[in-house]
């Protein structure tokens, strides 16, 4: 295949963000997830929601990793599922934006509580719940920013984390 990688890069593991448009029918998510578990592929993150209510179409964003051959295989396997409209490899197709939302609860008093608020401010996280002994922060960013924020909060009374997983969209005027 003309676009096959050279031997040196063939075994390199890389991370890919893949967008999949599917008919929003019962079992479609199970089909996608079953494909990954059945064939032993990685899922780093998977998000899904309906994006076109009139046509009943959902968009799945999958972050996965593997060798070039595995990534190509994942895309081909996804593409042949009957309810799949389109499969796009955002990582391969140029620049794209990745976002994730996280809710982080910290419970601490005194200096640590103040430090948590200060760091939240630096990250431009919003306080969405506050008591005298706790905060819930909301932060939107790419996966790395979100992980960094959680890492810092771990030392400042982290109690609970809830992440949405990654959603992504390509830059520029083109659509999926």
């Amino acid at each position: 295949m003309s676009n096959m990688p050279s031997a040196a890069t063939a075994d390199a593991i890389c991370r890919h963000t893949i967008s999949v448009l599917v008919d929003n029918e019962p079992g479609v998510l199970a089909r996608v997830i079953g494909l990954f578990s059945g064939r032993g592929y990685n899922i780093e993150s998977l998000t899904v929601a309906e994006v076109d209510i009139t046509q009943s179409v959902s968009r799945i964003t999958i972050v996965t990793s593997g060798t070039r051959m595995i990534i190509e295989q994942i895309k081909a396997q996804l593409d042949r599922l009957v309810p799949v409209h389109r499969v796009r490899d955002l990582t391969d197709e140029g620049r794209f934006i990745e976002r994730e939302l996280v809710l982080v609860k910290v419970a601490e008093t005194g200096e640590k509580r103040i430090e948590a608020l200060r760091i939240a401010d630096i990250f431009k996280a919003r306080v969405v719940d506050a008591t005298l002994s706790s905060f819930v922060f909301e932060l939107t960013g790419n996966g790395e920013e979100v992980s960094d924020f959680i890492g810092l909060m771990a030392q400042l009374g982290l109690v609970d984390v809830s992440r949405t997983g990654v959603v992504a969209i390509s830059r520029g005027p083109g659509g999926l």
């Binding site: 295949m1 096959m4 063939a10 008919d23 019962p26 079992g27 199970a30 089909r31 079953g34 059945g38 051959m69 190509e72 295989q73 081909a76 396997q77 593409d79 042949r80 599922l81 009957v82 309810p83 799949v84 409209h85």
Partner: protein
């Protein structure tokens, strides 16, 4: 005036009729009673009552494989559906188009652990090409039409339609099949001309080319087999085939090297190993074929023609992928090859054939014939002679006898050979033979079986007898699970753990008990007469062919070894030659 309303069961029957269904293989039960009632009231669709739902699917596979049509199955909910799972998986692995209708408990009971409830769509999701649960009768006709479209389009496969009992009673207007394309599933069948160009140019530069053909050629239809034959003869290249592809190119043609792979011929495997250009037509680089991937056809450029893009670069990286239906792809290649007056280096081709003829001289399928015991290979050679010139359909079970059948029987036409290749399902052959015989009532249909495999669906003798199907079951009875015994002998120090067929039934009496004819051959001089009698008897016949208990199937490429490290016979000691890592492979 609006269209008249029909019940779900009647809509289903009408939809099946519109999809060209003539035969359904099935088994009734509580959740499909309305459908059986609708079947009772019509005469267009024939129902074949099997004795186990697994057999219903295999019979539909045999029907589909021998006709090129979609096979149809009807089973009840719960155990009916779970029993069908092995057959569905078999059809998925071998890309056989089957639509399996399953009954389901009424929609209001789904999820309540109702009697004979199973999560059929959940269970069958990984073993079907697609499946549907019909929640409302309004969707029924459209979904049934879609199921047939999905089953036969692109790479064919099994599709399950799960129909709750209340949907079978509910009423609505019928919907005709749509001629417009499917919303999302539109597999590419026409090849990219750029790839055709690359393929033709690569083939034309070949010095040691080989065609490696598979089940995709059969699935594409008889036209693909004719085109393949034409292309192979035009180029002068040798041709080998996978187990699933046998019959696509005539086995009697001098350009045919026999089957390749684990029990393929010496010449086919060495030609694959030594080729410089490989033209894969509708095969999928299965591990039974490639042996050790790292040493597979080293130094070769590969063209891969497949209708399923996910088959390409899955196991083996290829140089020219051609996605499309074999018929269209072969047509395009032939056209361009002729238009450009391609003629590969004739001297190189002559040398290549000289080399292949050297390999052929090994006579790798030879065996030690004796008068004392019936060698299984001898029995199959005699069968080959006996069926020559007759319209015959061969099915097999799984094991040594299957490989011997593939090696020794003649396959000159497509759709005449039905075997469980991908899944390796013991118990496949008898029901598949029933399906083929239903489709071809006057043809000679023979299930080449082993005494262990045949017992996995032996109950289907009753089905064959009920419908007066003159299926022949030729049991190569060596009293062992032969392939298991062979691996234990070669790889596990002859510790024959649980592979002996104890307490075998008397197959002759068993056949008679079912109302079939039982025959037995125990001596070499009985073989011809018994085979002749089997063929001439216009009834269901079971032959107990008592063959050598110790014979092994050669040639053999042990697991994890490359093509050029074949064992040709018992004289070669696999024990010392087999690396530890080879043993863990299947």
């Amino acid at each position: 005036m609006s269209d008249p309303k029909l019940t779900g069961a009647d809509i289903l029957i009408k939809a099946l009729r519109d999809e060209g269904v003539e035969v359904i293989f099935g088994y009734p039960g509580g959740a499909v009673l309305p459908i059986y009632d609708a079947l009772f009231k019509q005469n267009d669709i024939r129902h074949i009552l099997v004795r186990h739902e697994q057999a219903a699917v295999h019979a539909a596979e045999g029907y589909a494989r021998s006709t090129g049509k979609v096979g149809c199955v009807l089973v009840t909910s719960g155990p009916g559906a779970t029993n069908a799972v092995t057959g569905l998986t078999d059809a998925l692995m071998d890309s056989i188009p089957v639509v399996c209708l399953t009954g389901q408990v009424p929609t209001h009971l789904i999820g309540n652990d109702a009697f004979q409830e199973a999560d059929t769509t959940g269970i069958t999701r990984p073993c079907t090409k697609h499946n549907y649960l019909i929640k409302h009768v309004d969707h029924l006709a459209r979904v049934v039409h879609e199921a047939f479209y999905v089953a036969r389009s692109g790479r064919p496969g099994p599709v399950v339609v799960d129909i709750p009992k209340d949907v079978q009673f509910a009423e609505c207007a019928y919907v005709e099949p749509q001629v417009t394309g499917h919303k999302t599933y539109r597999p590419q069948t026409r090849p990219d001309p750029v790839r055709i160009d690359q393929a033709v140019e690569l083939m034309a530069t070949a010095r040691r080319a080989i065609f490696y053909t598979g089940g995709g050629v059969i699935n594409s239809g008889p036209a693909a087999s004719a085109l393949l034959t034409k292309l192979v003869r035009m180029t002068g290249f040798p041709c080998t085939s996978t187990l699933m592809g046998l019959g696509a190119f005539p086995a009697s043609d001098p350009q045919f090297l026999g089957m390749l792979g684990m029990h393929g011929t010496y010449e086919a495997n060495l030609a694959m190993h030594g080729c410089d250009v490989m033209i894969n037509v509708g095969a999928r680089f299965d591990d039974r074929v490639t042996g050790r991937i790292a040493d597979f056809a080293p130094g070769s450029k590969k063209i891969h023609i497949d209708i399923d893009p996910s088959s390409i670069n899955k196991n083996v990286a290829v140089d020219v992928p051609v996605v499309g239906d074999c018929t269209y792809v072969l047509e395009a290649i032939i056209e361009l090859w002729q238009a450009r007056h391609k003629r590969p280096d004739q001297l190189a081709l002559k040398q290549w054939w000289a080399q292949i003829d050297q390999w052929r001289k090994k006579d790798c399928l030879r065996y030690e014939h004796t008068d004392k015991v019936i060698k299984p290979q001898f029995a199959l050679e005699r069968l080959r002679e006996a069926i020559r010139g007759r319209d015959h359909y061969i099915t097999t079970e799984v094991g040594q006898h299957q490989m011997w059948a593939a090696q020794f029987l003649p396959f000159d036409q497509p759709n005449r050979w039905m075997t469980s290749g991908g899944l390796g399902t013991m118990g496949y052959g008898l029901p598949a033979a029933i399906g083929a015989q239903v489709a071809h009532p006057d043809a000679l249909v023979i299930d080449v079986a082993g005494e262990a495999s045949i017992q996995m669906n032996i109950q289907e003798l009753a089905t064959a007898v009920q419908y007066r199907l003159p299926v022949k079951v030729l049991i190569m009875n060596n009293q062992w699970m032969g392939m298991v015994r062979q691996w234990q002998e070669l790889l596990h120090g002859s510790r024959f753990s649980e592979s002996y067929s104890h307490a075998l039934p008397d197959f002759v009496k068993l056949a008679e008990a079912y109302g079939a004819v039982g025959l037995r051959a125990s001596r070499v001089d009985e073989v011809d007469d018994v085979i002749a009698e089997m063929i001439e008897t216009p009834r269901m016949v079971v032959v107990d062919m008592r063959v050598d208990q110790k014979e092994n199937c050669y040639p053999m490429i042990p697991g994890g070894r490359p093509h050029n490290e074949m064992l040709l016979g018992p004289a070669e000691n696999v024990d010392q030659a087999t690396p530890e890592q080879g043993m863990v492979l299947v």
